[in-house]
Amino acid sequence: MVMNLDMAKKMIKAAIERAEEMNRLCSVAIVDDRGFLVAIHRMDRAPIPTVDIARDKAWTAATFRMPSSDIIKFGDASSPGFGFNTQNWNDRLTTISGGLPIKYGDDVIGGIGVSGGMPDEDVAVCEAALATVLA
């Protein structure tokens, strides 16, 4: 199973429907398993920076194979990879929540990032999108 445009479109549609229910204006980005962009949609009147933030979250989730908020664990000096979260090696890494890996069985086939609401709202929108495709 690999990420494809049809699946990405379906996920984005579900995410935007959920965001509309919650009265939030946001951007939704889907990347493939290597972190390369597949699709982005920005809702009408959603702030401009949300596009890139959503993409950053999706990239982080897909390449680290963990929710983007989990990156903060590299701030713990006793964990392997300490300091990753602040090392400026890459302009896409983010610790903001709202990015989740897209899993198919045990494989990570991509990542989804949502930006525009409160942190837990962004995650809820991500989960709505994941539920649609993997159900």
Partner: protein, 150 residues
């Protein structure tokens, strides 16, 4: 039409994708608003990873220069440059934090009064200015606007 909405952008992408699929070259297509900010980007299955950013930047460049990126490509054509290094189009090269694209395939979207209200860019079709090129893909996308508004 005064504004490119997500709904219109999706319509344009769909039409452009249909054309790109017909031509046999999977591509990335991006639609941006009048600020040059992304509204929607799609990378078709099989299109290379770099095509997404190129299509976004082509659409941005079309808005920024209020002209097709074909004209930007002309601006840095060696035949267009003046006798002094840096005169003519070369000065454009480093503008907009290196986001300007000098490759054909980005067109501005205009309203009835010919104001630029957005841009559309495509990347993925190999070089060409004839029947099949990035430019014809974005033109196919542009034409989709009028399916509803005429």
């Amino acid at each position: 039409m005064k504004e490119v909405t997500l709904e219109i952008a999706e319509k344009m992408l769909e039409a452009a994708e249909r054309w790109a699929a017909l031509s046999g070259y999977p591509s990335s297509i991006a639609v941006v608003d009048k600020a040059g900010a992304v509204i929607a980007v799609h990378r078709m299955d099989g299109a290379g990873p770099m095509t997404t950013d190129i299509s976004i930047n082509k659409a941005f460049s079309a808005v920024y220069s209020r002209a097709p990126t074909l004209m930007l490509a002309r601006a840095i054509d060696s035949r267009m440059l003046g006798p002094i290094i840096g005169s003519g189009g070369l000065g454009l090269l480093t503008q907009a934090k290196l986001r300007l694209m000098f490759i054909p395939g980005g067109n501005p979207i205009r309203d009835e009064d010919a104001n630029v209200i957005g841009g559309i860019g495509c990347s993925g079709v190999p070089e060409g200015v004839g029947d099949i090129s990035d430019t014809t893909v974005v033109q196919a996308g542009y034409a989709a606007i009028y399916e509803e508004y005429d």
